[in-house]
């Protein structure tokens, strides 16, 4: 991936998103941002802080508390040629908008055979680990990645966030841009200041290795890399693939990695049953069966309806670095 050569700056995910949204608002007057509390409050995570003052209330719209209308209106704007970026305050609140996202946005281009399109971005913070309990911790990608016509992106690092958000805004189809809230202010990394895009649908190898491949996305990527470092000291070389994009998904990178390592471990926070890992496992079993030297392993969230509020419950739900390292060891040695 060619990056713009020039200044870089130290950024966390919030700053990366803010920078990218700002670039888009400046570059294209069709871009508007709408959602609850995005204007005066500047978003509950302060991502759009200052935007209302700079761009005005016709472009930074505080919507009423009605997710279906937020997305429906955004769909209408997109059909009329604008480039709306709708925000769902927490992914847990997206369910009322399910009708609009799956029944309308995903199907607009297809049902009109290209007469109308829906270049819409829906941003939503997701994921647990912040003591958010039932309604501020959920992962929603499995509900939507099944739907043709939608695109879903879940980057973890500031650079990926910046590049993929820019690409999502330019994308002519509806994109669900998932931001893991625990990564918002987790780490600062050097990223280019000038705008750049990372094409949707491409995974990224964050660490090369020979003994096994770990495929992951979201906050867990930080933990996976730490676990990989730990087992590297024991002589197990782990290749870490950051999925980045859930739909479309990068089969090429996964299979190329498997060709080298022959062992696959999928790690994600979402529930195991029917999660994204299930599709990866099925694809690998279909297309890379003869490459496999060990059964495919998935290390995923438990199949319980929610992450509890008590820290003990949350810790039991989330996967620790130790558990990840142990899974890597087991797979490498079996």
């Amino acid at each position: 991936m060619d990056l713009a050569i020039g200044e870089t700056m130290l950024c966390n995910n919030v700053e990366a998103i803010r920078m990218t949204l700002h670039d888009a608002l400046v570059a294209d007057e069709r871009v508007v941002i709408l959602g609850e509390d995005v204007g005066a409050r500047g978003n509950v995570f302060l991502i759009t802080k200052g935007f209302l003052e700079e761009f005005g209330s016709s472009r930074i719209i505080d919507t009423p508390l009605a997710e279906a209308a937020i997305i429906g209106t955004a769909i209408g704007m997109a059909m009329a040629g604008m480039r709306p970026i709708a925000e769902i305050q927490f992914a847990d609140f997206i369910y009322p908008a399910f009708n609009q996202i799956v029944g309308e946005a995903a199907k607009t281009r297809y049902r009109s055979d290209g007469d109308y399109t829906c270049p819409l971005v829906i941003r939503a913070p997701y994921g647990g680990g912040v003591r958010g309990a039932l309604s501020h911790s959920v992962s929603i990608e499995a509900l939507f990645y099944h739907v043709p016509g939608l695109k879903i992106v879940a980057p973890a690092f500031p650079q990926d966030v910046r590049g993929l958000l820019a690409a999502a805004i330019k994308d002519p189809d509806p994109v669900l841009f998932l931001e893991h809230k625990k990564t918002y202010r987790l780490a600062r990394m050097e990223i280019p200041r000038a705008p750049f895009e990372i094409p949707l649908g491409r995974a990224d190898v964050k660490r090369t290795g020979e003994h096994l491949t770990v495929v992951a996305y979201g906050f867990y990527l930080y933990q996976v890399l730490e676990a990989a470092q730990r087992v590297a000291e024991e002589g197990i070389s782990v290749e870490v693939v950051d999925l980045r994009s859930i739909r479309p998904m990068d089969r090429t990178t996964i299979l190329a990695s498997l060709q080298k390592t022959h062992r696959l471990l999928i790690i994600h926070e979402d529930h195991r049953f029917g999660g994204v890992g299930a599709e990866i496992a099925a694809m690998v079993a279909e297309e890379a069966f003869y490459m496999l030297d060990a059964p495919i392993r998935r290390l995923c969230g438990p199949d319980v309806p929610a992450i509890g509020y008590a820290s003990a419950l949350e810790d039991a739900y989330l996967i620790s670095v130790d558990r990840m390292a142990e899974a890597m060891r087991e797979l490498a040695r079996c």
Binding site: H262, F289, Y290, M291, L292, D293, A294, R333, C334
Partner: protein, 400 residues
């Protein structure tokens, strides 16, 4: 297998590499004398092992079926390493022997699955990568040791075994090795060649012959002859050879410890290449035959060789061997002397070449090399040189 098993002996007996000698720490498994699945009696040899000190055949400790061969031929293993498993049947020595044809696989396919329960539980399902690698490398499951959990065979194990095998058995290609069993004839040839090379000090020389007249003569004969059978170049060469031998009887002789045997006759042996091997029929008293007769005799013997009707008498007694290596396009060869003779002469391919004539002009001539290996114990350079020059003169001055 149809015999009911004695539960007491249902566990397979593991045979390990024996320590053949006090300070011996490792041995090479030279070859298996029995195939996997074959029945062995107690004390029957089933493998050949070589150490620094001694080569030995290992007798089986129990009677039973050789279920698994754990080591490949040629592998170097430390003493005490398991090399085979035998599934014992009945009590030792008293068990009825199962007929070979019931249990021995008649084809060279991988061995039948193990018959004991313990052997089955030890074996794990193979992963797809391992299965494919085994197929690619032409290995069998039992030839690969497992280093995964509970002895599971991993891809790394297969690749390691394949690499080790490649080192032990040098081959031109890294593709699958085929093992062709030795026929008796092949074994005989092998032994003969080894003996000849071992006992006779070979010296080699060659000479270049202008065979233009030979070619012209043959063309004329072909043009004249209507019924098709024309003496070949080789036939002409053999006649020239036999004729020259009269001048140089030492070429026809034989070295023995008692003395040099010079026979009164020439029994000309010549090589005939057959699909599977080489036969060397002998024309007895070739010196008594004129050219046509010799040609006819050579042709007839060749035909008999090809159809497999040579008698044993026709295969012995040769005093010198002639070989038409040029028939396959060879222009030089270094033949091995037939044991019991002193020389072998080959006729190489006739090739048109530009040469410098006597008056320093360039001309195109049909040139032919004649190569000769001699037993240097009784033939020196002068003799073979003279012999070859004389042979050359004969061919170059043939009457057309």
């Amino acid at each position: 297998m149809s015999e009911p098993k004695d539960p007491a002996t249902s566990l397979p007996t593991i045979v390990t590499m024996p320590q053949l000698g006090e300070t011996v720490t490792e041995g090479i498994l030279v070859r298996w004398l029995k195939q996997a699945g074959e029945y062995v009696d107690k004390y029957e040899s089933f493998a050949e092992v070589a150490t620094d000190k001694v080569n030995a055949e290992i007798p089986a400790p129990v009677a039973g079926h050789l279920t698994t061969l754990l080591v490949t031929e040629g592998a170097l293993v430390p003493t005490g390493t398991p090399i085979a498993e035998i599934a014992a049947i009945g009590t030792n020595g008293v068990a009825p022997r199962v007929r070979k044809d019931e249990t021995t696989p008649t084809t060279t396919t991988p061995p039948s699955p193990p018959t004991s329960v313990a052997a089955e539980t030890q074996r794990h399902a193979l992963s797809p990568a391992v299965r494919r690698a085994l197929q690619e490398y032409g290995l069998r499951e039992d030839e690969v040791g497992g280093s995964g959990s509970e002895g599971r065979i991993t891809l790394a194990d297969v690749e390691r075994t394949a690499a080790a095998r490649r080192e032990n058995v040098p081959t031109e290609s890294t593709e699958e090795h085929r093992l062709i069993p030795l026929t008796r004839a092949r074994r005989a040839i092998a032994e003969h060649m080894v003996q000849a090379k071992r006992t006779i000090p070979h010296a080699w020389t060659m000479i270049e012959v202008d065979a233009s007249r030979l070619v012209m003569r043959r063309q004329r004969q072909r043009a004249q002859q209507s019924n098709g059978t024309v003496p070949t170049y080789f036939h002409a060469f053999c006649y020239a050879l036999v004729s020259t031998l009269a001048e140089y009887p030492m070429m026809n002789a034989r070295f023995t410890d008692e003395g040099i045997e010079v026979p009164p006759h020439v029994h000309l042996a010549f090589a005939v290449a057959l699909p599977e091997n080489l036969v060397v029929p002998v024309i007895h008293h070739a010196d008594r035959l004129d050219e046509n007769a010799l040609a006819r005799a050579l042709a007839a013997a060749t035909e008999r060789a090809r159809t497999g009707h040579l008698t044993a008498a026709e295969l012995i007694g040769g005093t010198i061997t002639a070989n038409n290596t040029g028939a396959n396009g060879s222009i030089l060869s270094a033949p091995i002397i037939h044991a019991g003779q002193a020389a072998i002469v080959t006729m190489e391919s006739i090739v048109k070449r530009p040469i410098v004539t006597a008056d320093d002009a360039i001309a195109i001539r049909s040139m032919m090399h004649i190569c000769c290996s001699i037993d240097h114990r009784l033939i020196d350079g002068a003799i073979v040189g003279g012999f070859l020059s004389s042979l050359k003169r004969r061919i170059e001055h043939l009457e057309i």
